[in-house]
C-alpha cells in the first residue's frame, strides 16, 4: 500500500519532465495556467478541506498574474457547444468542468487533447466515489494509498499557496521589480503546479489496474482507462514533447502496462527540472565519505543523525535540554522561496556531475552518498553467505544477506529464482524440469541423516547392556537383559504351540523354539 503510494509519487516526479516540455511549448500561456488550475477543482470535489480564502486567493493570483478573466467561468455554467460523449454520461457530476473545457477551447489545436486528458482524469476521480460500491471486485484500488496521495497533494498545494501569497505581497510592495525576477517566480510556481498536476494524474492512474481487473465495468470505463493510460504515458516519458501524439494512443491496456512496469529508478531518472530552477550543490569526496555529518560544536564528536547530536548536546549543559533546543529544527517553508536544492557528484565525467552534458542531478544528500559509494568506490563488503556478492553500501549488503541463500528457489537445471512462483512458472514452461530440493536445512524431510545421528548418540549410552546398533537388530538387545528363569516359573507352564501367522498361515515357515535356551528365557523371536 505504502509502496503503491511511493510509486505514485515517483511517477509524478517522473512525468514532470514531459509536462515541462509541454509548458515550454506553450510559453506559459493563459490556457495552461487555467489547466494547471484545474486540480484544485478536483481536490474540492474530493471533499478535501479547502478554505474559501485559499480559493479566493488563488483566483486572485490567477487574475493578477496575467489577467485570466476567463477563469472566472469556473463557477458558472458557460454555454458550451462542444460536449463530448463523456460529458453526457457524467452530467450528474457535482463539479463543473465546463470552465476547464472552455479554457481548453481556447487552447491551440495541439493543446486540446491535453486538456481533455485532464477532463477524463477528473471524471475518473468522480467515478471513484460512484463506482466503488457497485464493483467490490476492484481489489487493486487502495483507498488508503489514494488518501495519502491526496493529502500529499493537499500539502503541496498549501505550500504553493504560501508561495503565491508571498509573490503577491512582494508585488504590492515593489512594483518596480525586474521582469527577470517576475519571470523566475512565475517559472517556479509553474513548475510546482506542473508537478501537482502530474501527481494528480498518476493518483487517478492508480485506478487503472482496477479498471483492468474489473470485468463488470462497461466500455465507457474502458474509454476512461484509455484516457488514463494516456495520462500514464505522459508520466512515463513515452510521449515527450508532442502533445498531439497522445491522440493516437487509444489502447488502454498498452498504456496500463507501461504504467505498471515503471520502476523507481526510471522515475528518478525522469526528473528533469529546467536548469536554473534549482540550486546545484556539490559535496567534496571527503565530505561524502565521512561517516558522520553532524558534529558537536563543543567536543567535536560526530553523529550520523541530527537527532542523536541533539541528544548528545544535553550533556553539555542545561541550555540544551529545553524543549526548544531538543525539538526538530523547524523547516521555514513559508518565509523564503528557497530554490530547490539538487546535488552534483564530485566525480568528473559522471552523469551526475554538473559538468556532464546530460547532467542529471541527485535529489538528496543521501542519494549523493549512496551514488558515490556505489559507483565510484570499492566494494568492500562481501556477503558472508555466498562470498561472491560485494557491496560498497552496507545497507545493500544487509538487504542482500537477508535473501541470499535462504530463499533461493532452485530448479533441477541449475537456474535459481528468488521467488517460488517464478520457479514454478519456469518448471511449468520446460518439460522435465523439477524443483530441486536444497540439501542443507532440509529440516524434517532429512530424516535419514538425523536418524543415523540419533542412533550414534544412543550408542554412546551406557545402560548396563551394550547397544551395538539400535537400528541393526532391535530384538537382539532385549535378549541379553538377563531375566532369570526362576522369576518366570509360571511362564513355563504355558504350552508352546507352533506359532501361527494370522494373515498368511506361514506357520511352517517359522521355527519357534520350544525350549528355553541356556536356562534363561529367550525371547520367542521371529527373527531367529
Amino acid at each position: 500500500m505504502l509502496l503503491l503510494c511511493i510509486l505514485e509519487i515517483d511517477a509524478a516526479f517522473g512525468c514532470v519532465k514531459s509536462l515541462r516540455h509541454a509548458c515550454r511549448l506553450l510559453h506559459l500561456s493563459k490556457p495552461v495556467i487555467a489547466v494547471l488550475e484545474s486540480p484544485k477543482l478536483v481536490l474540492a470535489n474530493s471533499k478535501l478541506k479547502m478554505d474559501p480564502d485559499e480559493r479566493l486567493c488563488t483566483e486572485t493570483w490567477a487574475k493578477s498574474s496575467s489577467g485570466l478573466e476567463s477563469l472566472d467561468t469556473h463557477s458558472n455554467n458557460s454555454s458550451l457547444t462542444n460536449f463530448d460523449r463523456h460529458q453526457k454520461k457524467w452530467e450528474e457530476s457535482s463539479f463543473d468542468r465546463h470552465g476547464v473545457r472552455t479554457s481548453g477551447q481556447q487552447l491551440s489545436g495541439s493543446k486540446r487533447p491535453f486538456a481533455s486528458d485532464i477532463d477524463g482524469q477528473m471524471q475518473m476521480n468522480n467515478l471513484q466515489g460512484k463506482q466503488i460500491p457497485e464493483a467490490p471486485n476492484m481489489q487493486n484500488w487502495d483507498p488508503k494509498a489514494m488518501l495519502s496521495n491526496l493529502s500529499f497533494l493537499e500539502k503541496k498545494i498549501h505550500q504553493l499557496q504560501d508561495l503565491v501569497q508571498l509573490v503577491i505581497g512582494r508585488r504590492g510592495q515593489a512594483m518596480s521589480q525586474a521582469d527577470e525576477i517576475l519571470a523566475q517566480q512565475q517559472q517556479l510556481i509553474t513548475a510546482d503546479l506542473t508537478s501537482i498536476i502530474v501527481q494528480l494524474i498518476s493518483t487517478a492512474g492508480s485506478l487503472l489496474p482496477s479498471v483492468k481487473n474489473s470485468e463488470s465495468l462497461s466500455s465507457q470505463l474502458g474509454q476512461f482507462g484509455g484516457m488514463m493510460s494516456q495520462a500514464a504515458r505522459v508520466s512515463d516519458n513515452v510521449v515527450h514533447n508532442n502533445a498531439n501524439k497522445m491522440e493516437d494512443h487509444h489502447d488502454p491496456t498498452g498504456g496500463l502496462e507501461d504504467h505498471n512496469m515503471k520502476s523507481d529508478d526510471e522515475a528518478e531518472e525522469g526528473e528533469n527540472l529546467p536548469p536554473g530552477s534549482y540550486e546545484i550543490l556539490q559535496l567534496e569526496k571527503e565530505e561524502i565519505l565521512a561517516p558522520h555529518t553532524h558534529f558537536c560544536t563543543i567536543c567535536g564528536k560526530g553523529f550520523k543523525r541530527d537527532a542523536n547530536l541533539r541528544m548528545h548536546m544535553r550533556g553539555h549543559g542545561d541550555e540544551y535540554k529545553t524543549p526548544a533546543a531538543l525539538a526538530k529544527p523547524h523547516k521555514e517553508s513559508s518565509s523564503d522561496p528557497v530554490l530547490i536544492k539538487r546535488y552534483s557528484c564530485p566525480f568528473v565525467g559522471c552523469k551526475r556531475n554538473k559538468d556532464h552534458k546530460k547532467f542529471q542531478p541527485l535529489k538528496t544528500i543521501l542519494c549523493v552518498k549512496n551514488h558515490y559509494k556505489r559507483t565510484h568506490c570499492d566494494k568492500n563488503y562481501t556477503c558472508r553467505r555466498c562470498h561472491t556478492k560485494k557491496f560498497s553500501v552496507i545497507a545493500d549488503l544487509k538487504t542482500h544477506e537477508k535473501h541470499c541463500g535462504r530463499d533461493q528457489w532452485l530448479c533441477s537445471c541449475g537456474t535459481t529464482f528468488s521467488r517460488k512462483d517464478k520457479l514454478f512458472g519456469h518448471i511449468a514452461l520446460f518439460q522435465g524440469h523439477t524443483p530441486a530440493i536444497p540439501l542443507e536445512g532440509a529440516g524434517p524431510s532429512d530424516q535419514g541423516q538425523n536418524s543415523v545421528e540419533a542412533a550414534n548418540k544412543v550408542e554412546q549410552l551406557d545402560f548396563g547392556y551394550k547397544l551395538d546398533d539400535p537400528r541393526e537388530d532391535p530384538a537382539t538387545y532385549f535378549s541379553p537383559l538377563g531375566f532369570d528363569t526362576s522369576n518366570m516359573a509360571s511362564f513355563q507352564e504355558f504350552p508352546r504351540h507352533l506359532f501361527e501367522d494370522a494373515e498368511s498361515s506361514f506357520s511352517f515357515l517359522l521355527s519357534c523354539d520350544d525350549s528355553p535356551k541356556n536356562g534363561r528365557y529367550a525371547a520367542p523371536n521371529d527373527l531367529e
Binding site: 549410552l461 532391535p474 530384538a475 501367522d501 494373515e503 520367542p524 521371529d526
Partner: protein
C-alpha cells in the same frame, strides 16, 4: 505313508480352476493350511500379499509367481534392509501399500520406485515424516496412476511438483492433510497431470485460486475437499463453471460455503452421482432442494447437520429416485419427513439417521416397507425407537448388513429377537443399550452367524452367558467391544478364546478379569492384533506374560491403568515384535526405568507411543531420540 486324497488326482489346471472360485480370504486360508499341494496351488494363484513381518519377504516372494500387489502397512519396521529384500521381485509389482512406513529412507524409496517399473498404485499415507525428498524419490515411478500421500506432513509444493512432473499419468491423487501444499502446487498439478480423475485435497489451506486451476481439469471425476476452510463461494463457483466430467463432489465441513454456490455447481453438473455436503450448512434452502431436481442420476446425498423440512424431503424423494445412499445425521428429521423420503427413494441401501431423536417406530416401519434392499441403517441416539422398529426391520429388510443402534435405550431383548431375523448382519452396534441382556444376545448369535463386528460398549446387562452364545454362533467375529460390561468374568474370556478370527478386542475396565482370563484369551485368539485392557486392574503380570508369549500378532495395545510391573512391561514390549502402537499411561507399578527398558526393547518397531508427560524428564533423551529417529511418534499426555 501319506494317504492321497482323491481330489489330488485331479490335474493342477482343474484344481486351480476350482481354487480360483474361492473368493473369501478365510476359505483360501483353510485351503492352503490343508496340505502342501494345496499350498503350492494357492501360491501359484496368489496375487495379493499382506505381510506381517518383512523377514518373510525373501522366502515368500520367489514362491508367489503371480504376486502383483504387496501390502507392508502392518509390518512393524520397513527400512532400507527390508526394501533391499524386496527389490529382486519389484518389477512385477503393480500395487504397493507402504502406509505408516515412516522409517523408510528416501534413497531406498527411490531405489524401490526405480525398480518397480510397472508400479501403478502406491500408498504412502500416514508416513508423517515424509516430505519433499520422499516425494522426489517416488517421482521415479513414471507409470504411477494412483498415489496416496495422506498425512505426509512435510510434503510441500516442491514435493508435489516433483511428483506431478515425474508421474504425468497420475489419475488418482490424495493430498489429504498435506498442510504445506498451497495454491501454487495445485496450479502446477493442473498444468502437468492432465489425466487426473480423482483428487483429494481435504483439509488443505488452499484458497479460491486453487479451485480456479482445479476447474480446468477436464477429466476430473471426483473432488474431495473436506474441511477446506479458506474456500468460499467464489472458489466453488470456479468448480461450477469447470470440471466438465465431475461426478463426485465432497464439500463436507467447508463452513464458508453458501447454498447458492452449491446450487450453481449442481446447475453446471447435472450428471453428478455423489454429493457430500455434511456439516456445511445450518439449514437447507428451498432453492437448493429445487435445484436437486436437475440431478436425475444422483445416487448419494449427504447433508448431515443441516435442518431439513419435511416438504424438502418430499421434493427430494419425488425428483431423485435413484438415490441409494442418504445421510441425514443430526438433521432432526421427523417421521413425516422420512415417510416422504422413502415413498420416492425405494432403492435406498444406506440410510444415516444418526441423532434424529424425534423418529419413532412409524418412521422405521415406513423405511422397512419401502426400502427392501436396505443394507445399512444408522440409528444412533434415536431414543424413541422400540422393539416395534426392529420387528419391522426383521420382517422386511432381509439383506440388512449393518445396523447401528448405539444409545437407543428403547432396544431390549425382544427387539433383538426380531432383529435376529436379519441373518445377513455383519456389523451390529449395541453400545449403551442398557436394556439388553444375555438372552437377547443369544437370539442374535443363534441366527446371525455372519456377524464380524459387535459393539457392546457399556451394555451392563451382558455377562458370560452372552459371550458363550456369541462364541458358539458368531465364529467369524473379528471385532468386539466389551468395555465396561462389568458382568464379564474370566469364564467369558474362556468362551471368547474359541473365536479364532477375533483380531480386535476392547475390554476397558473389566474389573472381574484376572490373569487367568487374559491367558486363556491370548492362548485362543491367536489373530489378536488390537487389544485394549485399559483399567483392567485385576490382571497381574502372569497374564501379561501369557500375552507376551502368545499374542505375537499384536499390533496395538493399551495397557493404561493396568497393574503391570516393570518386568511384565518389558516382556510385553520386548516379545511382541509386531507391536506398533502402545498406550502406557498411569502405570502405577512401573518405574521410569522400567518404561525406558521396555521402550528400548521395542524401539525399532514402535510407530506410535503414548506416555505420561511426567516421564518426559525421567526418560533418557537418547531413547526419545532413537524412537523419533525410527519414525515413532510420541504423544505425551
Amino acid at each position: 505313508m501319506k494317504m492321497k486324497s482323491p481330489i489330488l488326482l485331479l490335474t493342477d489346471d482343474l484344481l486351480l480352476k476350482i481354487i480360483s472360485l474361492l473368493t473369501d480370504d478365510t476359505d483360501r486360508k483353510s485351503l492352503r493350511s490343508t496340505c502342501k499341494p494345496f499350498l503350492h496351488l494357492d501360491s501359484l494363484l496368489r496375487t495379493h500379499l499382506r505381510l506381517l513381518h518383512p523377514d518373510f519377504l525373501p522366502s515368500l516372494l520367489p514362491k508367489l509367481p503371480s504376486l502383483s500387489s504387496l501390502d507392508l502397512s502392518v509390518c512393524p519396521r520397513i527400512d532400507a534392509a527390508a526394501v533391499s529384500l524386496l527389490l529382486p521381485s519389484a518389477p512385477r509389482l503393480t500395487r504397493l501399500h507402504l502406509a505408516r512406513c515412516s522409517a523408510l529412507p528416501p534413497h531406498s524409496l527411490r531405489a524401490l520406485a526405480t525398480a518397480c517399473a510397472n508400479l501403478q498404485t502406491l500408498d504412502l499415507s500416514y508416513c508423517t515424516s515424509f516430505g519433499d525428498l520422499e516425494a522426489a524419490a517416488i517421482s521415479a515411478a513414471a507409470c504411477l496412476r494412483d498415489l496416496n500421500l495422506d498425512k505426509c506432513l512435510n510434503v510441500t509444493d516442491v514435493g508435489l511438483a516433483q511428483v506431478a512432473a515425474g508421474c504425468p499419468e497420475l489419475e488418482r491423487l490424495s493430498l489429504k492433510w498435506c498442510f504445506d501444499v498451497t495454491d501454487i502446487g495445485i496450479w502446477f498439478l493442473s498444468k502437468k497431470c492432465l489425466h487426473l480423475k480423482r483428487l483429494d485435497i481435504s483439509y488443505l489451506k488452499v484458497s479460491n485460486e486453487s479451485f480456479r486451476w482445479i476447474s480446468g481439469m477436464e477429466k476430473l471425476e471426483a473432488l474431495q475437499m473436506v474441511g477446506c476452510g479458506s474456500v468460499d463461494d467464489n472458489g466453488l463457483l470456479h468448480i461450477a463453471n469447470g470440471c466438465a466430467s465431475l461426478k463426485v463432489l465432497d464439500i463436507s465441513r467447508c463452513d464458508r460455503l453458501s447454498m447458492d454456490a452449491l446450487c450453481s455447481v449442481i446447475h453446471g453438473h447435472n450428471r453428478l452421482l455423489e454429493l457430500h455436503a455434511g456439516y456445511c450448512f445450518p439449514e437447507l434452502s428451498m432453492s437448493f432442494v429445487d435445484q436437486l431436481k436437475d440431478l436425475k442420476s444422483l445416487k448419494m446425498l449427504r447433508i448431515d447437520g443441516a435442518r431439513v423440512r419435511d416438504s424438502m424431503l418430499k421434493f427430494i424423494s419425488n425428483n431423485c429416485k435413484c438415490l441409494t445412499e442418504v445421510g441425514l445425521g443430526k438433521c432432526r428429521v421427523t417421521d413425516t419427513g422420512i415417510l416422504h423420503l422413502v415413498t420416492g427413494c425405494v432403492n435406498l441401501k444406506v440410510l444415516d439417521l444418526t441423532c434424529c431423536s424425534d423418529l419413532t417406530d412409524s418412521a422405521i416401519l415406513a423405511i422397512a416397507r419401502s426400502c427392501r434392499d436396505l443394507l445399512c441403517l444408522k440409528l444412533e441416539c434415536c431414543n424413541l425407537l422400540g422393539e416395534g422398529s426392529l420387528n419391522h426391520l426383521g420382517s422386511h429388510c432381509r439383506f440388512l448388513e449393518e445396523i447401528d443402534l448405539t444409545d437407543c435405550s428403547g432396544i431390549n431383548d425382544i427387539g433383538l429377537k426380531y432383529l435376529s431375523r436379519c441373518s445377513e448382519l455383519v456389523s451390529l452396534k449395541l453400545g449403551l443399550c442398557v436394556n439388553i441382556s444375555d438372552k437377547g444376545l443369544s437370539y442374535m448369535a443363534s441366527n446371525c452367524s455372519k456377524i464380524r463386528e459387535l459393539d457392546l460398549y457399556r451394555c451392563e446387562g451382558i455377562g458370560d452367558g452372552g459371550l458363550a452364545s456369541i462364541s458358539r454362533g458368531c465364529k467369524k467375529l473379528k471385532g468386539l467391544n466389551l468395555s465396561y460390561c462389568d458382568g464379564v468374568t474370566d469364564e467369558g474370556m474362556a468362551y471368547l478364546s474359541s473365536l479364532e478370527e477375533l483380531s480386535s478386542l476392547e475390554m476397558r475396565s473389566l474389573r472381574n478379569i484376572t490373569a487367568t482370563g487374559l491367558t486363556k484369551l491370548a492362548a485362543g485368539c491367536r489373530r489378536l492384533a488390537e487389544l485394549d485392557v485399559k483399567n483392567c486392574k485385576g490382571i497381574d503380570d502372569s497374564g501379561f506374560w501369557a500375552l507376551a508369549y502368545y499374542s505375537r500378532n499384536l499390533q496395538q495395545i493399551n495397557l493404561s491403568g493396568c497393574a503391570i510391573s516393570d518386568v511384565g512391561l518389558c516382556m510385553v514390549m520386548g516379545n511382541l515384535t509386531r507391536l506398533q502402537d502402545a498406550k502406557l499411561l498411569d502405570l502405577a507399578r512401573v518405574s521410569a526405568d522400567g518404561v525406558e527398558v521396555a521402550l528400548r526393547a521395542c524401539c525399532a518397531c514402535l510407530k506410535k507411543v503414548k506416555l505420561s508427560a511426567s516421564l518426559r524428564r525421567l526418560l533418557s533423551p537418547q531413547i526419545i531420540q532413537t524412537l523419533e529417529a525410527n519414525g515413532c511418534k510420541i504423544r505425551w499426555d
